[in-house]
Symmetry: C2
Subunit: 184 residues, 2 copies
């Protein structure tokens, strides 16, 4: 139902739109939080019109169809926005990789974590640049701030994990160097 909510919200905010318009909208700043391709959007718009949440307001050149939100659509959107999600399913590949990290040799794990810290830093810079471009209090501002905070947490976690692994690597190397703890 998230795709429906996103489509309803986009039309609510920007007014009547075609599938083509909406597809492009999903490639803008919204892409940081949700993605959808035209092959998913077009059938969904048809279903939503069939369900009375949207209506075809206008048919333009090249078969262009402009969808407007109906009262039922607005009700559905408000309903979705205000429902409280208890117990969501967790299926996060990044978390799974963190969970399974101990299966790798220390050096390899450190390499991967370094890359991850770098990626989080890059994403963070990207969001900061976006904020400069669109301003402090633009429409997606709350999500932007949230992304920044989570990227900071991700980077700091990766650095913490690297530090931890490095300490245990040192201890291990130490042990290897003087296996019995006794000089000759």
């Amino acid at each position: 139902m998230s795709l429906r909510a996103a489509l309803l919200a986009l039309i609510e905010v920007a007014g009547p739109s075609s599938g083509y318009d909406l597809t492009k909208r999903f490639e803008g700043s919204l892409a940081h939080v949700w993605q959808a391709s035209h092959s998913q959007i077009y059938p969904e718009l048809n279903r939503m019109a069939a369900d009375g949440l949207l209506k075809v307001e206008e048919e333009g050149p090249r078969g262009r169809k402009t969808y407007a939100i109906t009262a039922a659509g607005q009700a559905e959107l408000y309903q979705w926005l205000t429902e409280v999600k208890t117990e969501q399913r967790v299926r996060d590949e990044a978390s799974l990789r963190a969970f399974l990290l101990p299966l790798l040799p220390g050096q390899k794990a450190i390499e991967l974590l370094t890359e991850r810290a770098r990626a989080a830093e890059t994403k963070k810079a990207e969001l900061e640049a976006l904020r400069l471009r669109v301003g402090e209090s633009s429409f997606g501002g709350f999500a932007l701030e949230r992304g920044l905070r989570h990227m900071t947490a991700e980077r700091d976690w990766a650095l913490w994990a690297i530090d931890r692994l490095q300490k245990s690597e040192e201890a291990r190397t130490e042990t290897v160097r003087t296996p019995t703890g006794e000089p000759e």
Copy 2:
């Protein structure tokens, strides 16, 4: 492919296991990072055996089948663990809700954010309790620390957003009280 990796990893760590064993394993601490039900696990195990990543090591009572990891399975697991994921698709309902928050009246948004701060705090407490139970350096330790940091970021973001909304609500109320800014 994440499910495959998780199954291979569980068998790698705990030794030969049945679908039933693995299903229960997904209900333990792993449930914080990935979920899978028996109806997904059983067919996947069969496919993995057909692909040579696992082999049926033993058939027990009640039709129990114990799967062991093969050399090909270990190679596949290592491959998955070390591949660097560039550009992952984003589809995060919590982020979408944050993005669309400005569509709600301020008071309603504050309510939802309060609930979200509370939920993050609860999850954080849950993870802290888990850490006390399983110890600082247990197998899922890296993921646990990561979860804690992200839940902290989530709670802090929600509190920040509430504060921001409260300030603009106050400003709005102020305006309503003395609409022209002039006393009579």
